[in-house]
């Protein structure tokens, strides 16, 4: 099924998730500036159509591995937004009880294997999740989201080869937001990313990550291929990155003009609204209603996170082992 053939409910769900990610990230940015969030965050705003376009093709038993810029993937795979916000605030009600923070949000029961603080940390893990499905005879797939930076990590190259020779049901979703930290990918990525898949005989597609429907349809094909047991696919998804590398990054390596043009011309939310409007699939009022609902959810999540207790001190030494000795 193509994205344009999705039911009204599914389209609204996709829009709700993308809007939730955007408002979540804008709010985290604002709360970071207030100084009440410890540590650091890497914001996903601008890339929403990638996470949601891919994850709309998944079911709960499918697994995803993510990156340091993982909030969007978590929301798209169904992680609880209240638990995520509390985690980022370092609270006991957090999805990881305040022990992981922004870079380690995970909910295994939702098939979310964790954001990851290590660039290139995820591809081997996704291969492992795919191997589990293969060994147990399930048709689950695994998706590893990674960035253009991780494409230059050995783990990615090793995992792509492993997935191809073992025909693992895994999708390498490479979100190319143009930057690895403060360095342009054009400066550090040799050749074309999809040709690295092509060299292994792996299926691939390059898609516009601003267009939910383009991502959705490419991912649908990749997921179906994986479920049929025909092996992995690499998706090269080109997206903007609205914020700097980390929240608070002065982002002075891009010109003000470039950043303004990016937000004006490459916005997956306005693109989505335009496309469903033109096709008369959803009304403006439906989408506005979602915007209001999402705003209320995020307001509530921040309020609850601020009010939540810190983790108890005795939790410092728990959860290292299941049993020790």
């Amino acid at each position: 099924m193509t994205g344009m053939q999705l039911s009204r409910e599914k389209l609204l769900e996709a829009y709700r998730m993308m809007r939730t990610i955007r408002v979540f990230e804008d709010r985290v940015s604002a709360e970071m500036a207030s100084g009440d969030i410890p540590g650091n965050t890497h914001l996903y705003a601008g890339q929403e159509a990638s996470a949601v376009g891919v994850c709309m093709n998944l079911v709960q038993s499918d697994n995803i591995a993510s990156t340091h810029r993982g909030h969007g993937h978590c929301i798209a795979k169904g992680c609880d937004v209240h638990g995520m916000m509390a985690e980022i605030f370092g609270k006991d009600t957090g999805i990881c009880r305040g022990k992981g923070g922004s870079m380690h949000i995970a909910d295994l029961s939702k098939g979310m294997l964790g954001a990851n603080g290590i660039v290139g940390g995820g591809p081997p893990l996704a291969c492992g999740a795919a191997m589990t499905a293969q060994v147990l005879g399930r048709d689950d797939v695994a998706v590893v989201f990674s960035g253009d930076g991780a494409i230059n990590q050995g783990t990615t190259a090793e995992s792509m080869n492993l997935a191809q020779v073992w025909k693992l049901p895994v999708i390498f979703a490479v979100e190319d937001n143009g930057f690895g930290e403060a360095t342009a990918s054009s400066f550090v990525v040799a050749g074309e990313i999809v040709k690295r898949a092509d060299a292994l005989g792996m299926a691939f597609a390059k898609v516009d990550g601003v267009d939910f429907f383009a991502v959705h349809d490419a991912a649908a094909e990749a997921v179906a291929r994986a479920r049929r047991g025909e092996g992995p696919t690499l998706l090269h998804i080109e997206t903007p990155r609205y914020y700097g590398h980390f929240s608070g990054d002065p982002d002075n390596y891009r010109t003000a003009e470039e950043k303004a043009a990016m937000r004006r011309d490459r916005d997956c939310l306005t693109t989505f609204r335009r496309r469903v409007g033109e096709a008369k699939l959803l009304a403006e009022s439906d989408l506005d209603a979602v915007d209001a609902e999402v705003q209320a959810v995020i307001d509530s999540a921040v309020k609850a996170a601020r009010a939540a207790p810190q983790p108890p001190l005795d939790s410092l030494t728990t959860d290292v082992y299941v049993r020790y000795p």
């Binding site: 009880r97 295994l108 294997l113 290590i118 893990l125 492992g128 783990t155 080869n161 492993l162 299941v322």
Partner: protein, 337 residues
């Protein structure tokens, strides 16, 4: 009880557990050998023959020869563990951990803590360790202190065929990531090993010998050298206790402290390099908790702080041996008699 080699004991443990639990898989480089080639399949059964026969018994879906890509397959083992399998990955030489360490210490070891206690990672990484095979600096190290340092990992060093089988079965059944290190010069050693399955709990030291004069604490192959040293010393009238902790994490601190208090003289034998090694670690535990019982300074017998050399005479000088252990015990005995 039947006599079996250390290698056969490990092989039996793998057969038992794979037969018992369909989620147990093994993966690694040439763990069968011959895949894609024209000749014999399961040609090697692992570089040291430990996994021989598993392919025929359990098939290629569960016995997986991998590319030479340690990050990918060790990380895949971690990812599989957290999604429902019990993978046993084999790294031919522990020295190769350098190319996949991130997947061990940043990923597998930390899932449970980072995710607030929700992850269970039943993952075993088997690797060989140890000097004495003229294999030089990149195929001979005893790197268990590095793993011992990392919270979230358990580290096992069996010294006998009996322990090898029981500890590997425990490692596979354990719900935490386990690093299981096999000294390659022990594979052909023989000892009593029951035919059935049995698990040896982690964190329980084996006291091989009890003597009142001094305690020798040793791991892996060094346990055999410690035993040899006790024979030399017995002839001189020095009666030693020998303790094999069997796991460096968890470490059986209770048994170590009890024996230190009993004899008051302790020699720790560690094949690893001396800085931040097990000998240093155990010394500090004894000094902190049993200082009053000590009759002499704790002695450490370790490798020097150098890489492992190639030339046979240099490698012999590198490794601790029974003579050096006996000499260390004599020194503790001579201290303020």
């Amino acid at each position: 009880m039947p006599q079996k080699s250390f290698r056969q004991a490990l092989n039996e443990a793998l057969h038992h557990e794979m037969g018992r639990d369909p989620t147990v898989i093994v993966l690694g480089e040439d763990i069968a050998g011959g895949a894609g080639a024209s000749g014999q399949q399961d040609a090697w059964g692992g570089a040291f023959g430990v996994t021989k026969g598993l392919l025929g018994a359990f098939g290629p879906l569960r016995v997986r020869d991998t590319p030479i890509s340690e990050s990918a397959f060790v990380g895949a083992a971690a990812g599989a563990a957290v999604t429902g399998l019990r993978p046993v990955a084999e790294i031919m030489f522990v020295d190769f951990l350098g190319v996949c360490f991130d997947q061990i210490f940043n990923q597998a070891a930390k899932f449970r803590y980072m995710f607030g206690g929700k992850a269970v990672t039943p993952f075993v990484l088997r690797a060989t360790y140890g000097a004495g095979t003229r294999s030089a600096s990149q195929h001979s190290q005893a790197l268990y202190p590095i793993f011992t340092h990392v919270p979230g990992l358990k580290v096992v060093i069996p010294s006998s065929p009996y322990d090898a089988k029981g500890l590997l079965i425990q490692a596979i059944r354990d719900n935490d990531p386990v690093i299981f290190l096999e000294n390659k010069l022990l594979y052909d050693t023989v000892g009593e090993v029951p035919d059935g399955a049995y698990a040896i709990p982690f964190g329980e030291a084996n006291v091989l010998r009890e003597g009142g004069d001094a305690t020798i604490i040793a791991f892996g192959r060094m346990v055999h050298f410690a035993q040899e040293a006790t024979a030399i010393l017995a002839a001189e009238g020095i009666d030693c206790t020998v303790v094999d902790p069997r796991t460096t994490s968890p470490l059986d601190e209770d048994t170590i402290l009890e024996t230190a208090e009993e004899t008051g003289r302790v020699v720790i034998v560690d094949e690893a390099n001396p800085r931040c090694g097990m000998a240093a670690d155990i010394s500090s535990i004894i000094a902190e908790n049993a200082f009053g019982a000590l009759k002499a300074p704790i002695m450490k017998v370790t490798a020097p702080h150098t890489p492992v050399p190639y030339a046979p005479n240099l490698e012999a000088a590198y490794l601790p041996d029974a003579k050096r252990i006996a000499e260390a015990v004599r020194k503790t005995m001579a201290y303020r008699k």
